[in-house]
């Protein structure tokens, strides 16, 4: 394909991505190094018959002028990045010097909002992803062993947790887990503690969110593995059988090698999707016990005062996190591309 033709074909897409993905990133980076202007405060003398008192008031005109002159705000460099709500360099080094042991240091760090969000996001990502792979694989193997008449309806039901809107899927579970809901009641009954509430405890909230994550994503892994199992080389399997391979050996030496590339694919997609975990925290109303990086940004953006600079700094840090997560994949894709050209 000629360069010129290629250019015209990809122009609309590239324009859309440039304007609404690339430029916003630039805008986010800009916003993260500027803070809103502080209001200009002037002192005025209020004099009446009892004497003069000094009081301060906001000089609206001067503030407005300043805002017009520098609409981005005042340049603060990396101040926002290192402040208490983000990387908290000062607090971390203080905690490092003052705390007696590792445990105390960690609990100090976990009180800082950014690290709290980061800790949950990473835990969620690296707990949910392997569990999704395992559960998805087990479902795929099980579905593969039932008569083909039943497979259609089974796949239909299995797809539901994934297709459902994340906010809504987690709401449905949240209502059931509520202490007055059916699962909540069941858990209270099993634990023998009628006052047990999943919402009130931090560890239980984390578990709940991760259970939701696995429930939501397992169908994806299942479908991909199921498709993979359909294309397992039958001849190889039969010859392994004839050579006296046991069932376990067949799985180990024929089926698993066939599924390895699929596992990489699922793991990649899952890492990307789990790193952005956000909706369940809104639905579960869990922000007191667990926040993720995405939720942290959402929280800054919403509400009465929109903390744009703070949200922007968190966004930049999140993007850096995504980049780190993706590096191995990018290197691999680059190698594959080099191979496919030759």
């Amino acid at each position: 394909m000629k360069h010129k033709t290629f250019f015209w074909f990809v122009l609309p897409t590239s324009l859309a991505m440039l304007l609404f993905i690339a430029l916003p990133i630039v805008s986010v980076v800009m916003q993260s190094v500027y803070a809103p202007h502080e209001q200009v405060v002037i002192e005025v003398d209020n004099c009446d018959i009892f004497g003069c008192t000094k009081s301060t008031m906001v000089d609206q005109e001067a503030t407005g002028k300043l805002r017009d002159a520098e609409p981005l705000g005042r340049f603060v460099g990396t101040d926002i990045y290192v402040n208490r709500s983000h990387l908290a360099i000062t607090e971390i080094s203080l905690a490092w010097q003052n705390s007696a042991g590792m445990g105390e240091f960690l609990s100090e760090v976990m009180n800082l909002p950014f690290y709290r969000a980061l800790a949950f996001t990473l835990t969620y990502t690296f707990v949910v992803t392997p569990l999704v792979l395992i559960l998805g694989f087990m479902i795929a193997v099980a579905v593969n062993s039932i008569p083909s008449v039943l497979r259609g309806p089974t796949i239909f039901l299995s797809l539901l947790p994934m297709i459902i809107t994340p906010l809504i899927g987690s709401l449905i579970l949240f209502w059931m887990i509520d202490s007055r809901g059916i699962i909540g009641t069941l858990i209270q009954y099993l634990a023998g503690d009628p006052s047990l509430s999943m919402k009130a405890s931090t560890p239980l909230t984390w578990v709940m969110l991760m259970v939701y994550g696995v429930w939501h994503s397992a169908p994806f892994a299942f479908v991909v593995y199921y498709a993979g199992l359909q294309s397992v080389p039958k001849d190889t399997l039969e010859s392994a059988m004839i050579d006296g391979a046991s069932r376990w050996q067949q799985i180990r030496y024929v089926i698993i090698p066939h599924l390895v590339p699929l596992t990489t694919f699922i793991a990649l997609m899952q890492l990307m999707d789990n790193f952005r975990v956000f909706e369940p925290i809104v639905s579960f109303n869990a922000s007191a016990h667990a926040t993720s990086l995405s939720y942290f940004i959402y929280d800054d953006l919403g509400g009465e005062t929109r903390l744009l600079s703070s949200a922007a700094a968190t966004s930049v840090l999140t993007i850096v996190g995504v980049a780190v997560l993706l590096t191995p994949v990018l290197i691999r894709t680059w190698r594959d591309f080099g191979r496919s050209k030759t």
Binding site: L23, S148, L326
Partner: protein, 294 residues
Amino acid sequence: MSTSVAERRSPLLKLFAWSFLLLWLVLAAFPFLWTFWGSFKVEGDFFSKADWMWAIIGHLTEAETGSTFTGAGYEGAWIQEEFWKSALNTLIVVVCVVTISLTIGTLAGYALSRSTFNYAFWLLIIALIFRAMPPITLVSGYLLPFYEWNLWGKLPTAIIVLVAINQPFTLWMLTSFFKNIPKDLDESAMVDGCTHFQAFRHVIIPVMWPGVITTGLFSLLLAYNDFAVTAMILSKENQTMVPKIASFLGTTQTKGNVMFAVASVVSVTAPLFVLVMFFQRQIVSGLTAGAVKG
């Protein structure tokens, strides 16, 4: 498919597989069934402190409304809280997003699948990086310019943003579909004197529909399911269904109004059910497209 010798299993293993599958199916489907059934009850039954059986038999529902089923939740959500407006907004957003992103996505996907230049590869890689970024990180970049230019809160703004966020995924999927359409087809058309665009129009377009429909389904799901973008960018009057439900939760926790949220949750889920029922095959093929072939 005939069962080969290799697929024979011991009865114990079979029993385990069946019971595991049954357990999974209950886990996957029961919450939906439960919520659907419960949406026709009053709050006292759906969240029953006294006896969980009430959610099934509707004890309080009968006492309060005279019948074991009530449509009060739906009436409250759709009419009183004007959920129909959000449904209409969602319809507009979804239709526009799918149409626009498929139109520009097919062009680019086709070009990418036919190009072996390095920059084609880099475009795909950039798209992959964009795909990995949480949409909410972009939202903080949108807000300031959108306020400034008075674009915030309007449906077309949300549509364009969703199209852009959709593009990376659409590109990857369509590129992999187009790679499966033999190059000989359009090359022979060009030998016969077509320009590249004519070859695309007359030769590729007629055979691309399965891939495009599958990609369209996923664009649709992305637009329909989005919360991060629509919640932050749309004003209250222009809200789509998902942010509307979230706002139900924040403001109307008074008695009875939780059932509005339950009813609207069921209303949002219903179209997705229908979608999976009719397009199960396409969804499955779409999910595996990237994996099995690539």
